[in-house]
Symmetry: C2
């Protein structure tokens, strides 16, 4: 076996370990009884440490050196590059720090569940301080190893090649025009027609499954279950989607299901011949989010799809009458509001929630902001960016799980994903001029085949999201397209 082939064997085992952890994470959110949390945290910490040790083993370093001059095709070359990337991230951290972060994250997450419920930030504070302190340590170690800014080192865990300066550029532009655009949208929009909004949970579930089937989601290779916060987990051949059901809010289960379906189709569409190899994985979290938002926001809140959805809501969910016909439905699913909760935000205000978190997490990690001062800083930022008063920490700085688990550097990818979604969808519409007709019939095949070829099936062949976008759309990430999408959808007509 060549050095490269031996590396493939090692990285395949690593993927198995990570796949096991992914299913256990899903189980913890969708199935596990509360009393299992301690044992699960221990299991995940051990899997995480073993993966770390596997990557740090001297043998991998030797093999990577030996493989450097091998004669490889472009996919193999990209695979080797991603192997080296993973190893760089692992060797930058001592094993003790990896274990400490895993334990601190689990402890903070458990403390957060109780503290959020009780709206008691002081109960969370020591746990979050520990997580922030360990993250600062990890960011410094990675920054020193990679020769980059500590925050950029964290970013690169989620989005290879992305730098804080790129985000600043994109987000400063957004922060410039969005508050004004928001004012104008709010000025002109009217309240959607009132309607009895109730659908039995079983009907919501049937309809969610019906819509996922229309997307092309393969239930032989995946499931749909319930969790507090919808997410996509599992592995490419066994994709676990979740949503949540509230009888009084049927659209609150359907759109999350469609969103996660977009993620799930990306996972399923990753190149099967590169399963369990680094190059066979998703490009990064921004492109991942672009695939969920392309489905949820670009397609499913657009007129063509709503023309397909409205009769289904009547037929399968008993929601009929003018309020639920396509024009009323459109006003309902595109209603914009200044709101407190990121995951419930519309696509106009969502980026402001993200910019807010991006600024705060940079301040936390640079030491400019103490955890103790987070609630105050949260309120200030929300007032400034969204013009809204925060009544409690539960609805403020304790609403998200990300920081609890040490996922700093992740938030920006949501909005970069929204921008990429607009850009990729425009390219798809250009390539497939009769796409709207297909979508109005619930036929996702042309769109999904196009995405499978140009995005999903590319895995991690490209060096960065910008390189992928260049190949798919002819240009790197271009925020103007997202702005044009928002202006067209919310300010014209």
């Amino acid at each position: 076996m060549t050095a490269y082939e031996q590396l493939c064997g090692h990285f395949s085992k690593l993927a198995n370990l990570n796949g096991a952890a992914a299913v256990l994470h899903w189980d913890a959110a969708a199935m596990m009884p509360t009393g299992g949390a301690g044992a699960r945290a221990e299991q995940l910490a051990t899997l995480s440490l073993l993966g770390h040790e596997m990557l740090c083993a001297g043998e991998i370093g030797d093999l990577l050196e030996q493989a450097e001059n091998a004669d490889l095709d472009p996919w193999e070359t990209a695979n080797l590059r991603e192997m080296a990337r993973k190893r760089r991230h692992a060797t930058a951290l001592p094993g003790d720090l990896v274990t400490a972060m895993s334990h601190a994250g689990s402890a903070c997450e458990m403390a957060w569940r109780t503290a959020r419920e009780a709206d008691d930030f002081s109960a969370l504070r020591p746990y979050l301080e520990e997580v922030v302190s360990l993250t600062i340590e990890a960011a410094a170690a990675k920054g020193a190893a990679f020769g980059c800014a500590p925050y950029d080192a964290l970013l690169s865990q989620y989005e290879p090649g992305l730098q804080g300066s790129d985000i600043d550029r994109h987000f400063d532009t957004l922060a410039d025009f969005l508050p004004d655009l928001l004012d104008r949208v709010l000025d002109r929009q009217t309240v959607p027609p009132a309607a009895p909004e109730s659908m039995p949970v079983q009907a919501q579930e049937r309809l969610s499954r019906r819509l996922l089937a229309a997307l092309g989601f393969d239930f032989e290779h995946g499931r749909l279950d319930i969790s507090l916060h919808p997410f996509t987990g599992g592995v490419a051949d066994d994709v676990r989607l979740t949503t949540r059901y509230d009888e009084a809010d049927p659209l609150g289960s359907l759109f999350p299901a469609l969103h996660e379906g977009g993620h799930g189709m990306y996972e399923r569409g990753l190149p099967a011949q590169w399963r369990r190899q680094p190059v066979g994985q998703a490009m990064g979290m921004a492109i991942h989010e672009s695939q969920s938002l392309l489905i949820e926001m670009q397609v499913c809140r657009g007129d063509a799809f709503l023309g397909f959805l409205a009769p289904l809501l009547a037929e399968m969910g008993g929601l009929s009458g003018p309020a639920w016909e396509a024009p009323g439905l459109a006003r309902r699913v595109r209603h914009v509001a200044r709101s407190l909760i990121r995951v419930e935000a519309d696509e106009v205000t969502y980026p402001l929630h993200v910019i807010h978190r991006y600024r705060l997490e940079k301040a936390l990690l640079s030491g400019d902001l103490d955890v103790a001062d987070l609630p105050g800083a949260w309120s200030e930022g929300m007032a400034h960016l969204l013009g809204i008063e925060v009544p409690s920490d539960r609805l403020g700085c304790m609403q998200d799980i990300h920081w609890m688990d040490g996922a700093f550097g992740y938030f920006p990818t949501y909005t970069l994903g929204a921008m990429a979604a607009a850009q990729i969808y425009r390219a798809a519409v250009t390539a497939l001029p009769d796409l709207p007709e297909h979508l109005s019939l619930g036929d996702f095949n042309p769109l999904m085949s196009w995405l499978a070829e140009h995005v999903h099936g590319q895995g991690r062949l490209h060096r960065s999201a910008d390189d992928l976008l260049q190949a798919v759309t002819g240009a790197p990430l271009n925020g103007a397209i997202f702005r044009e999408h928002l202006e067209k959808r919310y300010l014209s007509g």
Copy 2:
């Protein structure tokens, strides 16, 4: 840290790895879509190999030597003994063989699901031949390493200290008296009163949960789900029970749920201060089975409990009338029949199914029986031991999963468990004279407290099932008590 303390750290990680695998096994049976099987097999093979490598690491051998003369209390001493036992089992096998067995087992299990459905033994045969061949190799390696017979080496994976000669002694006695006892039971029993036998699945599930709650099963630390074959999985702090529901066969969900509940209570009752240490695990599979059969067979098919169950069947399941009152119910749940399927067998014929498999698996592993000749040998044995003709391999040698996965040496523990259940229950009744009154009210507390103290909480402190039985009942495994139980229940009154 002392060598012993360092060992505890290593074995705690090993328990985490095994715990992760246990949850993934449960998921595969209860949740996973069929298309996830390949990825899951890879994940489990990697976890299994990593556990093997962890045990085989030279460091563990050094630490075990250093800890030999340490000053340890009896629990620590037993823990060290069990650590050494696990290492002996691991080091006896090369890593390649472990991986090959894991893959062959997964492949055979997948082939078996299809072949059984199609009643096509020839499609299964090459996969099973591979599993048998690898098992022979593993048994020979372990036998050589331990200085014992190859089959005894396999037995000791499931039941420390157990030898084939012990089983022969017990099983020859059973095979002597059971066929005659079976004739006498069949002669005197009458068909239970006919009754409309249907209960909605939701009512069966509610009643299963009600009965598990009566047992003391803690749903904060466990779940009840559905699988093709009921089993107990997960870990001690997160016990995953399964049963199955058939509207036309309500008792066919309730008794399996009670059986698995017995297993689950054992897992939950293992000594919490020894969680994730070898001495904190179950004594062995025979004692594990004794705890499920003590609940299902000794208690729940007995008159006292049936007096509690009958009104619940009426109230929660709508099953009323004379056929469902305690005397009719008793005839129903104690009905004995010569039958083809082990998992559906009553407690009189069940041991004959097990003896049959025990003899066949010994012949397969010694080379006296070729896999190709298994169907014929199966039919012969069933005719001889149970006096029944086998119409198909699906209802014959392809009915069980155990051999497909390489679990040779496991079957005997079912019947040793049934014998131990009778013996332990007699000791419990002697210690708790008013036990029947409590059970007739659905009050399991006194029994469960007694089992928690004398059996569950003992973990793996004792060297063998016989040693535990000696401590709990004053004697090693005594088959006469099981015989007396059968004669009293099925031939008296």
